[in-house]
Amino acid sequence: MTALIFSVAILAGVLFVVMYLTLLERKFAGRLQSRIGPQRVGWPFGYLQPVADAVKLLVKEDVIPEVADRKAFNLAPVLVVLPVLFVFAVIPFGENLVLADLNIGVLFVLAISSITLIGIFMAAWGSKNKYAVLSGMRAVNQMISYEVPLVISSLVPVILAESMNLSDIVAFQDRAWFVFYPVLGQLAFIVFMVSAMAEANRIPFDITEAESELVAGFMVEYSGMKFAFFFLAEYAHMLAVSFLAVILFLGGWQGPWLPAGVWLALKVFMVFMLILWIRWSLVRIRLDQILALSWKVLFPLSLLVLLLAGIWKMW
């Protein structure tokens, strides 16, 4: 019974936080670009803006193009959002505050998060729009090639903490966070962050929904509630990535003076702001350069990091 309440709490919490993350991003991006950001709805800080967005997306007519393949078109958003929400089931929010304490936590997270790729390609192929198909191809290319460095670099904490269970990894880090291991920690963290950002289609890798070339990528035919799903999935994916980064490398809720929960929130907030900051200051790079970066740079780097982790463990 408590698991049910806990899971509903997590779901509501995630949706609420994601809604206000959109506001955070727009205010932060505004300040970065020396403008104010949304403030008209909910006067001083625009805190009602996410509610306005949600209502707008709910009320908007949900258009299904006549040419589209209806089954794939309707199922795609579901297949994109659900895996990301499943990831939150495994994440430990506190000492033993976790919905499902799987002892194969990391494997579960990596497996689930690659299902979004199927959803994205279904959306692209289902909407039968040339732009969407082109962007669907790109999404497949990019996400598969970044799956490999992501998996290998997230193996490093598993090796160091000798367990795939996320709570054990966090427990192991009470003495020193993995990121502070001499060369090993920083390299693994960088590879993990870069490939996680590529996984979540964020600048400078947001080639799939590149406005300047492909209008809106695979989301071009979606509107109304289905578009809200994609929107929600993107931010939830970013949130999941920052949670993962914090747990695997920055020692979860470990932290000297403050209570556990505050430390976790603070670290996730910092990682999230880092992703935003990178997003609003870099220019997008081309698809072939993205693939080259993944195979020629990140993949060998992650192998090296794995080797270092092995040596570190043996020694």
Binding site: G30, R31, L32, Q33, S34, R35, I36, W280, L282
Partner: protein, 172 residues
Amino acid sequence: MAFIKEAWDVTRSVGQSMGVVFKNLLRKPTTVSYPYVKRELPDRQRATFALLTNKETGEEKCTACLICQNICPSQVISMVKEQVNNRGFAKEFTLDLGGCIFCEFCVQACPQDAIVMIKLWENSEVDREKLKLNKQNLLDNQKYQPSEMIGSKIREMQSPPKAAPKPAEPAP
């Protein structure tokens, strides 16, 4: 080695552009929240129009000499002339703001300085007919602050050198 140099080049330039972006985070935003904070306008603002009346005698300055009607490139001014005792009056004077290109030729050409541009620029309308300002609208627009550029001032500014080159305004 080239790989290390290239990696260093990447991190340096990524850090540099993120630094530039961060610098702006600390600066005050340049946008203002419009309806509550209005931008102050320079005194030569060219927005919509007003027909002036002579302060002492209280009658309109416009003597319907049709000069502005002829010079207007997009021919948006049209008026009906009537002769009252010794002076011409514009019985009707319509200026189609929708077609006007705000080139200020009419203000420059008006010998009586009757038409002037005013500092009201929030004059968008929902219905196009309201954009056709008739004489009454133009006379009511007098309550707004007129722009500094009235006909005679522009003509005096453009007077060619041979006409007794009087000292222009003190150089900035």
